[in-house]
Each structure stands twice: as structure tokens, then as C-alpha cells.
Amino acid sequence: MTNETEQPLLRAVGVSHWYGGTLGCRDVDLDLHAGEVLGIVGESGSGKSTLLACLSARLRPAAGRVLYRTRHQGTVDIYGLGEAERRLLMRTDWGIVHQNPRDGLRLAVSAGGNVGERLMAVGARHYGRIRETARAWLERVEIDAGRIDDRPDTFSGGMQQRLQIARNLVTQPRLVFMDEPTGGLDVSVQARLLDLLRGLVADLGLAAVVVTHDLAVTRLLAHRLLVMRRGEVVESGLTDQVLDDPQHPYTQLLVSSVLQP
């Protein structure tokens, strides 16, 4: 699946961040290869969102580096880029699916406008083609294309999450960051969203970093896992290995409390 000799798509080296005196995350190293899904698990407050924000160019870490292999310009330090380049990267090569759809959608703009925004931001100027692309993406995330002109605040929570996903994938990114993508949804809605995500990731060959406190989510989506505790990575490995044969006592606790209720 991943090519051993290939450079990683994303690499974190010694990433640390503090909020004043409070530790966010400390000394995190990780590699993510093209087409690979990495799960980040740990209890609430363990530093998952902080790490994800650092990885996705939204929070400059106090120490450490985040390197990304671009399509055309080799590997770059994302915090060494100018803000214009960083934003371009974020809206072309990357996607970010927020836990709260309100942070990732324009609620006062129609579903079609939400999906089309990234296309327009990178220069699409043909209304008919933007609309056709938006329609195709709505269908792809199982939203009735007849709702293209409806505002997302008339959508259910599950539909809002799927709309967020369409809005991100429309520019065919290579890497998607997701923070608790199924958080706050009913169990049956979660299952449908996970199915959809799994299909999209496989079909599009997407790489993804998925933060969740729900180990069942990682079992379905992630190839590899990082387990975080108090801001540090305490264990990492292939998902099945970590979940079926956890080595660190903290991971053992997590697995036993969640998987054997």
C-alpha cells in the first residue's frame, strides 16, 4: 500500500506547543504517507486537537517543524511559507473537516455556494460548470442534488458533516484533517458517515489524519494509530496491532474501557 522508499507526504519533527503554562502537546514525531489514514486517539484533553491544529497550519507550534511534500516544489516547512502560499495550499491540497460544522460551513450560503467556494477561490469563473461540479459532489456525499440551493442550517447534523466533506474534497486535495468528524452525531448517522468516508478515502487515494476519542472510528478508518496521553505520544503502530495487542498500560486501559464495556 505505501511505498517504503517514497518520501512521506507529511512529517512532524519534535512538535510541541504550550498555551501559556499549559501543555498542549510535546515532542511529537510522525510520518504520514500518501493514501494513508492516521488515527490520533486519547482521552479528552490529551492534546489531539492541538496536534491536529499544528499539523494543519492553523497553529504555529512553539517548537518543532511540520514538513509537507508539495506537488511541484518539493518538501516545504509549512510554517516557513508565506501566508499567501500557506492559504493556497490549505484550499487546494488540503481539506479540514471541523468537529462543529458551524466552523467549517457558511451557514448563510446555499449548499451549492458552500461546495463551489474553493473552486471560485482558485479562479473558477464559469457559473454553470461550478454548479455542475457542486451538484456532482452533493450526490457523491449522498445529499439530494435538489437541495443545492438550500442553506445548510436547514440540514441535519449528518448532512452538514457530509456537506463539509464535499466542500473540502471539491478541489481534489491529497490530505484531509478531521477533528472528531462523527462527534455529536447519533450512532446510526455516525455509521453512515464512516462508511461514506471510508469509501471516499479509498476511491480518491486520500491521506488523512483523523482525531477521535472513539476507538471504533479508528478501527474502521485508520491504517495506523497514535495514542496520546497528557500531550505526548505513548504508543503508535498499525491500528489492529495497537487495538488487539496494546503495549502501553494507558492504551490497555483505553482499549479495555472502550471495547469491552
Binding site: 501566508e83 492559504r87 457558511r106 446555499s110 469563473r125 464559469h126 457559473y127 454548479r131 440551493d149
Partner: protein, 305 residues
Amino acid sequence: MTMRGMDGSTAGAPLEGYNFAYLDEQTKRMIRRAILKAVAIPGHQVPFGGREMPLPYGWGTGGIQVTASVIGPDDVLKVIDQGSDDTTNAVNIRRFLARTTGVATTGRTAEATLIQTRHRIPERPLREDQILVYQVPIPEPLRFMEPREPETRRMHALADYGVMHVKLYEDIARCGRISTAYNYPVLVNGRYVMAPSPIPKFDNPKMDRMPALQLFGAGREKRIYAVPPHTEVKSLDFEDHPFEVQRWDACCALCGAGDSFLDEVVVDDRGGRMFVCSDSDHCRERRDAGHRGPEPEAVGQVQEI
């Protein structure tokens, strides 16, 4: 001293007890610095330390401060509101500036050196020796899509303007065409997206490469921006929904103009209506030159409304 036309006044002595054009010299210098910066970066909004004016916001205090900072004793001032020199707003501003400067005023676009406007650009093409000052209620074109001020500043800095097309997209999705008719957003000099103030989009093409200097003043938000002479001003649009100006089936009932911005007006108490030029000076100039519309004798009725 010369008379400047029918509704004009001659130059005279400014009001005692006030500085020329009301503002003190230090304030004018500060505003002029903001104007110079605005001219150097076409379409970019420059903050300025605005002064309280003896008129409420919404009465064009931003435009007045800009006008007061560039006006000189030899200027001939014209003030228009919705194309007319005779509305309360236009009369008050003209009177205020005339009293505090003593400059001559005129209703004639051709005679004016300095024109302050709300809602219209004169039909008569402006010249290099003229300055057009716009009164601006909301200077930020991105406000509608992004209410956060630090974020709009960043978007301008990075020319991150995708949301402007999202707004136009929403127009077409809702109405089948771009329904924005006033304050239609423009791209200035290929770089900054700018709000042209609430002029009809009919006037947008006049901004493009205009020989006159265009200055914009927003009083409440204390912003100045500018379009220097001969600068490209492009209205945003889509390839398959190109920018278009308003058109009318009728021509002006008084002067017969078929290419001016028309207002529909009521002419009698039986609900009779007609279309007439919104730019009253332009209409009069055409009639003086012998042009006639289908109801030329209705002039008096229209002016009474």
C-alpha cells in the same frame, strides 16, 4: 467674480470664526496624507482619524471631510444626491461647504472642478481637471460575507477574494441572474476588490479609466480609498453571466436620451408616470441643446415632485 449658472452661487468670503472648509489645518493634513496613500494603492482602504462633523453620520460626513481637505478657494463645487442638486442632503452639504469656504458652486457638471456625490456618477464624462468625491456608507465589500474585520483585512492583503464570487453565485442561484444592482463590487487595478458605494451598476463602467481622480470617504468607519485617473476598474462577474448594466425600454420623456440612467417619476395626482433622466443637469443640458423627448412640456411637473 462670475456667475456659475442658474443655480450656482459666486465665490465670496468664508464665514467668520471658522477655519477654511471648517476643518483645522492639522486635520486636513492628516486626511490628505491618507488620501495620498489611498491614491498610491488604488482601491485599498486607508484608515484616517476622522473628526466629528456638525452633521450626523449617514449625511455624508466622510465625503465632506475628504472634500474639505482637497478644496481650494478657486474650486467650483457641485454636490449631487441621486443625480439631483436639489435634495435636502445635497443642498445642506453644498451650503455648509460654500459657507465655510466661500467657493463658487454650480449645478453644472461641465463647470465644476470638485463634485461630491451620493448614489450617482454624472452622465457627462469627467475630465482630468476634475475630482469626484463619493460618500460611502459601508466601505468594506467583503463585509457581507465575512463580518470579522481582522479577517477581511487579511483577505485583502492576500487577495483572497473567492467569497466575492460566492456572493454573485448566490445571486444567480436565487434569481437566475446577478441581481446586485447597486454597490456592485469591482476589482481595481487588477488587485483590490472595492465597494463603489451605492451607485447603480449602470455607473460602474464610468469608473473604468476615468480621467478624473475618484476619492471615497466613509465617515462612520473612518476609511478613505481612491481610484487614480485612468485606472482599470473591472466589475466582477462570471464567464457565462457577464456584467451588464441596467436598461430601459423607454427613453427620457423630457430630453429623449436613450442612454442615461432613468428614474420613474409620478407626474400628476392620477398616478401618471414617466421616465426621466436621474441626472438633472445632464437632462437640462440636452434640452438646452435642443433635444426633446415625447413629453417635453412636463418639465415643470417633474420638478415639483
